[in-house]
Structures are given as structure tokens and as C-alpha cells.
């Protein structure tokens, strides 16, 4: 086994990455070869040094890292929401197009059928819109599509039939 290959296997043995046979071979050489022991000691020292350097270095600020990511996350979320809105709007427009065609057809049919008279209220058949007898007794004997008969007696007349009760305001 060459030296370079042994060093790669030694590092792998330290990291626990070897199979049981390769591990048995490396451990047998460590028991028999002083050079291999020195090499292992050098690797351990280098490892300790690295851990010490990492320990002395300031710990990374997690909040700073998260905070720096937030604008990007917000921007990406805003883009995604805008895209969703646009897609929803497009879907809505497509649905509204179909619904609009149906509603427009119905409205057009109504307009063609009834024209401007559809919303116009039907006037009452009677003629009386407002009435004031200046305090005199008064009877609306009839107020329909055929005639309007209003009687203002100085004395109560002999009403035979069909007369309504006296009233002063008829709208």
C-alpha cells in the first residue's frame, strides 16, 4: 500500500468510513508501523487545531442570516402571489367571459322584448292622484279604468249602491 493511499485510508478510518476488512488492515498497520502511528498523531493534532480555530471564531449570527433571506423570500412570495392573482384573474376573466355572454344574452333578450318599458311601473287604472275637498264631505264613488266619479254633496245624497266611504286624500 503506498503512503498516499494509506493516508487516505487512515483519514477514512478516523472518520469511521471504512469497511470492517479495510478497518482491520489499517488497525493492524497502526499496531506494527511506528510511522503510521506518527501519521495518525499528526492527523489528530491537525483535527484538534481545526476545532480550536473553529471554537475561537465568532459564532455565525443566525438571525442575520435569516434576516438577509427575508427580503428575498418576501420578494419571491410577492411574485408568486402576483402570478397567482394574474392566473386567477385570467381564469376569472375567462369565467366572466362565459357568464358575461350568458348575462348579456339574457339582458339583450329582455331589452328587445320589453324595451325601455320593462322598468316602467304600471300606472294605476284610476284617475285620482291627489284630492282635496276643502273640508266638504266627499265621496269617490268610482275610480277605475272606465270612469272616475266624485260626489261632493252639501247634504248626504241617497246613495244606492257601490259607493265608497268618504275620503279626503286619494293618491
Amino acid at each position: 500500500m503506498s503512503r498516499e493511499r494509506f493516508e487516505r485510508e487512515l483519514e477514512a478510518w478516523r472518520d469511521g468510513e471504512l469497511s470492517w476488512l479495510a478497518r482491520w488492515r489499517v488497525e493492524r498497520r497502526l499496531r506494527r508501523d511506528p510511522e503510521a502511528k506518527r501519521r495518525l498523531a499528526a492527523l489528530d493534532a491537525a483535527g484538534r487545531l481545526l476545532r480550536e480555530i473553529d471554537a475561537d471564531a465568532p459564532a455565525p449570527d443566525v438571525w442575520d442570516a435569516v434576516r438577509l433571506r427575508l427580503p428575498a423570500l418576501d420578494a419571491r412570495r410577492a411574485e408568486a402571489e402576483a402570478a397567482t392573482r394574474r392566473a386567477g384573474l385570467a381564469r376569472g376573466l375567462r369565467w366572466s367571459a362565459a357568464g358575461g355572454v350568458a348575462a348579456a344574452a339574457a339582458a339583450l333578450a329582455l331589452v328587445l322584448r320589453f324595451g325601455g318599458e320593462a322598468a316602467a311601473p304600471e300606472p294605476p287604472p284610476g284617475a285620482v292622484r291627489w284630492l282635496d275637498a276643502r273640508g266638504l264631505p266627499m265621496m269617490v264613488l268610482r275610480d277605475d279604468a272606465e270612469a272616475t266619479i266624485i260626489w261632493v254633496p252639501e247634504q248626504a245624497p241617497a246613495v244606492r249602491s257601490g259607493a265608497t266611504e268618504a275620503r279626503h286624500d286619494v293618491v
Partner: protein, 168 residues
């Protein structure tokens, strides 16, 4: 957003607009027709609104004395029979006039009372009249052709007067 996504969104938006454009145009057309319909109807009404209203006013007298029926008052007689007790009905006076809107027609009853008639508006459904009998009733009436307005009970001696307003 990458340029590819941007182009995809642009294409989707364009497709949506292309799909919505005919519906929007049709909706605008319908709204326009709906709005123009009543306006056109009002314009037609205004165009058809007569400048002058043909009115006929008859003054009748009902009495407990027997008398010959007057053919001019045949319909009024038929309408009043069964409503008011009387034995005869005669035409005292009859006048016709083409009255402009908002003009006042003033005439005098045999009792000396004045009657004021003013057409307020007129359309195909009839004429809205303001009527005022001096010392008697006053009111607004929508008088339609063939639908007489009959105001009665004004005493003249032993008889009573009846005012009949026709809109021809």
C-alpha cells in the same frame, strides 16, 4: 421571476384579455342598449307628447223632476244611474278646447263658481290635469281617453250640477 416566466405570464394575460374582450364589448353593448332604451322611449314620448291637449268639459244638471234623456249625456247617465238618486239629466253646457300644457282654462259654472283646469303633462297614458272648483274640491287627475272624470253634487237650487271632463 425569470424572463421565461415573465413571458409566460404575459402570454396568459394576453390570452385572458383576448377571451374577455368580446364579452366586455357585448356587455358594453347591452349596457348601452339598456341605457339608451329608456332614453329613446323618453325621447319618443317627448316627441309624441302633444303640444296641446284636446279637452271637453260638459256641465250637466241632475234633477228630481222628470225630463227627456239627452243623448249627449247617455254614457254619463249610464254611469251615474245606480250611484246617485235623480230622475233626469240634461246637458247645460259643453265646451271643447285644445289647451296647451300648463295653460289654465277658466270657465264659470251656472252657480257662479269658477273652474280652473290646467293640463300638467300628457302622454299616451293620458293627461294629468289639475282641476280646481272654486270653493269646492281640487285635485290632480290622470284623465285617459274614454275615461271621463265626473265631479258632481254642486247644488244649484233644487238641482245639482255635474262637471264632466273628457280627454279626447
Amino acid at each position: 421571476m425569470t424572463s421565461c416566466e415573465a413571458r409566460r405570464f404575459a402570454r396568459k394575460r394576453l390570452r385572458a384579455l383576448v377571451c374577455a374582450a368580446p364579452a366586455a364589448a357585448l356587455a358594453l353593448l347591452v349596457v348601452g342598449l339598456s341605457a339608451a332604451g329608456p332614453r329613446a322611449a323618453r325621447a319618443d314620448d317627448a316627441a309624441e307628447a302633444p303640444a296641446e291637449v284636446p279637452l271637453e268639459i260638459m256641465v250637466l244638471r241632475v234633477s228630481d223632476e222628470p225630463g227627456e234623456p239627452d243623448p249627449r249625456a247617455e254614457r254619463v247617465d249610464r254611469l251615474l244611474r245606480g250611484q246617485i238618486a235623480y230622475r233626469s239629466l240634461e246637458v247645460v253646457e259643453s265646451q271643447e278646447r285644445e289647451l296647451p300644457l300648463d295653460d289654465v282654462w277658466t270657465f264659470e259654472l251656472p252657480t257662479g263658481q269658477s273652474v280652473l283646469v290646467r293640463p300638467i303633462e300628457a302622454d299616451e297614458s293620458g293627461t294629468l290635469l289639475a282641476l280646481d272648483v272654486e270653493g269646492g274640491l281640487q285635485g290632480d287627475f290622470r284623465v285617459r281617453p274614454g275615461q271621463p272624470l265626473i265631479l258632481g253634487g254642486l247644488r244649484q237650487g233644487e238641482d245639482k250640477l255635474v262637471l264632466v271632463v273628457h280627454c279626447r
